[in-house]
């Protein structure tokens, strides 16, 4: 998790699931299969396409938590659903809730959007 926004174009390798933006605090982290918490995306409008590739390749995060509605992530999940029946949870949480999360926390994300931390 990070309080820095991230562009997936130039920031996420859809072949490996690695965060590759060398200016980002999560640079070098493998996010595939894990929950990624960010405020929102920055920059390129290609972020959606990169996340869609990652979903198809099985290298996408298991879920993404943002502190503001992020249409780029939401669209990737919607198109992944339309194309492959494989949406991923994109959930908006408050800044306070986000600040209370820690790297390595175990999250249980339910269909209705409820998130249980280390339960």
């Amino acid at each position: 998790m990070s309080a820095e926004p991230l562009s997936f174009w130039g920031g996420y390798n859809h072949k490996t699931g690695e965060i590759t933006d060398r200016r980002h605090p999560l640079s070098g982290t493998i996010a595939s299969g894990r929950v990624l918490a960010l405020p929102f995306t920055r920059g390129s409008s290609t972020t959606t396409a990169v996340l869609l590739e990652a979903v198809r390749a099985g290298t996408a995060p298991a879920a993404i938590l943002t502190t503001a509605v992020d249409s780029f992530f939401a669209l990737a999940s919607i198109v992944a659903d339309e194309m492959y029946g494989m949406p991923i949870p994109i959930i908006v949480i408050s800044r306070e809730d986000s600040a209370a999360l820690q790297n390595g926390d175990k999250l249980d994300i339910r269909e209705n959007g409820f998130i249980y931390v280390n339960s």
Binding site: E53, S71, L75, E82, G113
Partner: protein, 427 residues
């Protein structure tokens, strides 16, 4: 948490018909995605657009290609005049570079898919410098972060920050969610950025605008900045460089400069008579830090100078030509300019390409170094005058990059190592 089910999106009869499939499977697929996204945007209704610009043309991998070919296979046609962004391939010159054949094949299939939908094959990230540029107040659906910020800020056209894949759905249906920057009341400035002690000689330097843009993007993030205190009137290419930088380091889709951009005749008008939520003073020191951030390289090694992100304009070709006249690139150092077919044609007619050719420089069209794997493996150290190239090259290409002015870039290509004139930037 946003509950999509409880929100009310009212569709017109025509919207509903499109959604139900009365206009065929392509329109149904586009409308289905658009309606789900309209709920994400919390829109209450959709509205008409009269132009679109498609960023989904960039080839990333199989999924994007399958998406394009599914729509094309359904017989998709765009409902409004639609320009195309850069593709993943210089269609007729890719063999001159290190582009793998399977990449070229797939990227080309993606180009064909979007062309078959009736889009205009402009293949440029600077569609606002073509005759197809939108007008003041025009409602449009544009992708490509630098094009979005230019259309909104410099032209006063109205677009949300459309992601890839949604842009084409808007173009096929001719509809967008009636939210965000499409509505006048959401276009007011939010953050006031005052330039305090920036000397005029810096303000006329061409590297000032990408540096300022980089800084503004970091400060404003996803807000609307108003830049106050410029003492010179920036030109079109300077505003283009500023916008591209701010839309890379931040999620900025609109900025105002009082007295320069069309929705800001005055500072008061830029804020629509509201108060800024934040005011920030920028000093020369802040600019120096921002300029340093655009350079990731730590030595003077130079393999290639790359210009043209966003795509080089005719005016930029005219500015470059005299700098190259009678000079030659250092052996093994390359100079590349990325631009559009139309702009290169104009530059050729204007006689600007001869100096570039005899210098040893090359031109690539339809794409850019970030969107196609064209760079030979030995190219590890780049230099550029573009904040966008400087921002993305390390992550996308794994290269080192040095940011400099246009004349720094040319001088470095001649000397074969990174040289920068620090006179203006020194403490």
């Amino acid at each position: 948490m946003v509950n999509l089910e409880t929100m009310s999106l009212r569709l017109t009869k025509r919207d509903q018909d499109m959604f139900d499939g009365a206009h065929g499977p392509a329109v149904r697929m586009a409308m289905s995605i658009l309606v789900r996204m309209a709920k994400v945007y919390a829109a209450e209704q959709l509205m008409d657009i009269s132009a679109a610009h498609i960023d989904s043309t960039i080839y990333i991998g199989e999924a994007g290609l399958e998406f394009a070919e599914r729509l094309a296979g359904f017989g998709a046609k765009v409902a409004v005049p639609t320009t195309l962004n850069v593709s993943g391939l210089d269609e007729h010159h890719w063999q001159e570079w290190s582009v793998p054949e399977d990449w070229a094949r797939n990227a080309h299939r993606q180009m064909i898919a979007y062309q078959s939908m009736g889009c205009i094959p402009t293949w440029t990230c600077a569609p606002y410098q073509t005759e197809l540029k939108p007008k003041f107040g025009q409602q449009i659906a544009w992708g490509e972060s630098n094009a979005i910020i230019f259309a909104n800020s410099v032209l006063g056209a109205r677009t949300e920050r459309y992601p890839d894949l949604l842009d084409i759905c808007c173009a096929i249906t001719g509809r967008v969610p009636a939210v965000g920057l499409h509505l006048a009341e959401n276009r007011a400035g939010e953050i006031l950025i005052n330039l305090t002690d920036i000397p005029p000689e810096i303000q006329i330097d061409d590297s000032f605008y990408p540096v300022l843009g980089h800084l503004i993007g970091k400060i404003a993030q996803d807000r609307i900045p108003v830049v106050n205190g410029l003492q010179v009137r920036p030109g079109e290419d300077q505003l283009k460089a500023l916008g591209a930088a701010a839309a890379s380091s931040g999620a900025v889709a609109l900025f105002h400069i009082p007295g320069v951009t069309p929705e800001a005749p005055t500072l008061k008008a830029a804020f629509q008579d509201r108060q800024p939520i934040r005011t920030i003073d920028l000093s020369m020191q802040d600019l120096r830090v921002a300029r340093r951030e655009l350079t990731s390289a730590d030595g003077d090694r130079l393999d290639m100078v790359v210009l043209g992100s966003p795509h080089f304009s005719l005016a930029e070709f005219k500015q470059l030509a005299p700098l190259l006249e009678g000079r030659h690139a250092y052996p093994d150092v390359r100079l590349l300019v990325t631009s559009s077919r139309a702009m290169v044609h104009l530059a050729k007619k204007a006689g600007c390409l001869d100096a570039l050719e005899s210098f040893g420089g090359k031109v690539t069209v339809d794409t850019c170094i970030l969107a196609t794997p064209m760079l030979p493996p030995g190219v590890k150290a780049l230099m550029t005058n573009s904040a966008k190239y400087a921002y993305y090259a390390p992550g996308l290409l794994g290269t080192q990059v040095t940011f400099g002015s246009l004349s720094d870039c040319v001088r470095s290509a001649i000397e074969g190592r990174v040289v920068r004139d620090e006179t203006l930037w020194r403490d």
